[in-house]
Structure formats: structure tokens, C-alpha cells
Amino acid sequence: MKEETILITVEGFPERVVEGTTIAQLVERYGIEDHHLIVEKNGRFVYPQDYGTTRVEAGDDIEMVHPDFGG
């Protein structure tokens, strides 16, 4: 059976992902290993503890931001 996909925006670019994709899966898909990565969903910060349970929905705008710790 073919999996349903949805269209979201990641870092400003359109992206098709399988329906039900979580933030954790999205981060893994992009191969990002920054432990302190900041993920934003529709302008709102997503707690890292919620990556595994937060699912993206059609039309979502996702940004992944590397934190700035220099001074």
C-alpha cells in the first residue's frame, strides 16, 4: 500500500514527507546531530523532549536552527 505524503516547508523549501512524520524523524532525515538544535514549527519553539511525539501536518513551516554559543 502506498503511503500518503503531505507537503510541508523545511528551511524555506517545499518538502514531501510521509503523513505522521515526527520532528525526530525529520531531524534524523536531515542528518542533523547537533544536540542543542532548535526546531521551530510554525513560528513556535518545539521542546526537544517532544520531538518524538510531535507530528508535522500538511502546510507546516519547519525551521531547524543551530544555536549560537560564541561570544
Binding site: H35, H36, I38, E40, G43, R44, F45, Y47, P48, Q49, E63, V65, H66, P67, D68, F69, G70, G71
Partner: protein
């Protein structure tokens, strides 16, 4: 002050304030000058490093004559030259959990000028514990971020970056003016908080990207499971 939003009362509040700036590199250079010139009554400037020639592209507080001196001494001299009417202490100490209370515990506001997450977490914990506002700023390359932590109202740094510090120790290069952009915003947040105008960046993380000259903001809610501000609140009652 001729600014109507600040006025004489605002200026009096600035004079009565005690601000601690931890880290006197790129960020601390600019925020400390902004706050000294604004007339903050007492500034404590803290850093344990010495000035190096390679610092000078962005650490405008120090000059070539200061190379080899402690940054806390160099900063104190420069800031007093800028405003001899205020009190400035230069503390040559490395901030850690053990001494954090001595360094920032008696201040009315903390400005972040550090260059690592571990020290920021120490400051954040002390800020939340003592109810002292903490203006976080960070830079990396052509990017920077700022937020103001108001204990009891806004999310804290642990809400944003939970868990143990797993940052990789590496040299982070920045173009000279970049820390100044972030540190100027930090100084503005400090002035607004202290004068009663109120910080605008409480619960908002401002992201500055200089490559495309864009500024973007992210809404951040308090994390009820936060091990720092969440647990302290639970303990209080």
C-alpha cells in the same frame, strides 16, 4: 535623558541599578560600553582571560596596548574613561557553580557575554534561583540570537537547551561587527528592563542572520517540565 520613554525617573533607575556583565569578549565589549555610557550606577565586569591580539577584530573594549593584560582590568579602565561618574569593578574570576552566587547574586540584572553553554547554564540557574533577569546573547559566524529571561515569567535557558552541555569545543569565528549587533540589542533589553519600559524579548528568541540581513523571531513557551525553572517553581509551592 531627553528620551521621553526614559526621562529623569528612568535615569535615576539606571543609576540605582547593579549590572553584572560576564564575559568581556565580543559581546561584553559592546554591551558594557553601552551600559556604562547609559549611566548604570554600578557595573561589575567579569572575565578571567587576558587580552590577545587576535581578539581585537571584535573586542573593541580593548586596544593593542592592552594585549597581555587581564580583560577585567582593561575593561575597567576603558569603561571608567568613558564614564567616570559610575562605579565599575573588574573581577578576574572564572564563573562556576561554586562562585556564581558571589559573582552575580547581588546584582539587579545579568548580561551574558560568555562564549560557551556551560557557563551560561550556571548563570541561568543562579538567575532563576535569585529571580534576577538574564539577557542571553550568542553569536556564531554571521548569525546571532538574543532572548531575555525574566524568572517566573519567561522560559529560561534550560527550557531552550535542556540536558547536559554537549557542545563541541571549537573556535568560532565571527566578523568583527557581528557581536556588536547582538550585544547592542542585549544592552537595549537591559536598559528597557531597568527603566521599567520592560524587555520585549521575554518569551521570544530573536534570530539575526547577517548574510541575508534578516531578523526572525520565534515564540518560546515555558517548559513545565524544565529541570531548572520548572522544578524551582514546584519547590516554591
Amino acid at each position: 535623558m531627553i528620551l521621553p520613554d526614559i526621562g529623569e525617573e528612568g535615569q535615576r533607575r539606571l543609576k540605582a541599578a547593579r549590572v553584572c556583565i560576564v564575559g568581556l569578549g565580543g559581546l561584553g565589549s559592546i554591551s558594557s560600553m553601552g551600559l556604562a555610557a547609559a549611566g548604570i550606577g554600578y557595573l561589575r565586569v567579569v572575565d578571567c582571560d587576558r587580552v590577545e591580539l587576535g581578539n581585537l577584530n571584535r573586542q573593541f573594549l580593548h586596544g593593542t596596548d592592552d594585549v597581555g593584560r587581564f580583560k577585567s582590568d582593561s575593561a575597567r579602565d576603558r569603561l571608567l574613561a568613558l564614564n567616570p561618574e559610575i562605579r565599575i569593578d573588574g573581577w578576574n574570576v572564572k564563573v562556576a557553580q561554586e562562585n556564581a552566587q558571589d559573582v552575580v547574586g547581588d546584582c539587579s540584572l545579568i548580561v551574558d557575554g560568555t562564549d560557551n553553554l556551560a557557563t551560561r547554564k550556571v548563570l541561568n540557574r543562579m538567575a532563576v534561583q535569585k529571580g534576577i533577569p538574564f539577557v542571553y546573547g550568542g553569536v556564531e559566524g554571521f548569525e546571532g540570537m538574543v532572548t531575555t529571561i525574566v524568572p517566573g515569567q519567561s522560559p529560561c535557558l534550560e527550557c531552550l537547551f535542556p540536558g547536559e552541555d554537549r557542545t563541541v569545543d571549537r573556535e568560532i569565528g565571527v566578523p568583527g561587527p557581528m557581536p556588536g549587533v547582538v550585544a547592542s540589542l542585549q544592552a537595549l533589553e537591559a536598559i528597557k528592563y531597568l527603566t521599567g519600559i520592560g524587555p520585549a524579548l521575554s518569551g521570544r528568541l530573536l534570530l539575526i542572520r547577517a548574510l541575508d540581513m534578516s531578523i526572525h523571531e520565534m515564540q518560546v513557551d515555558r517548559n513545565p517540565r524544565c529541570t531548572v525553572c520548572g522544578s524551582m517553581e514546584r519547590n516554591r509551592g
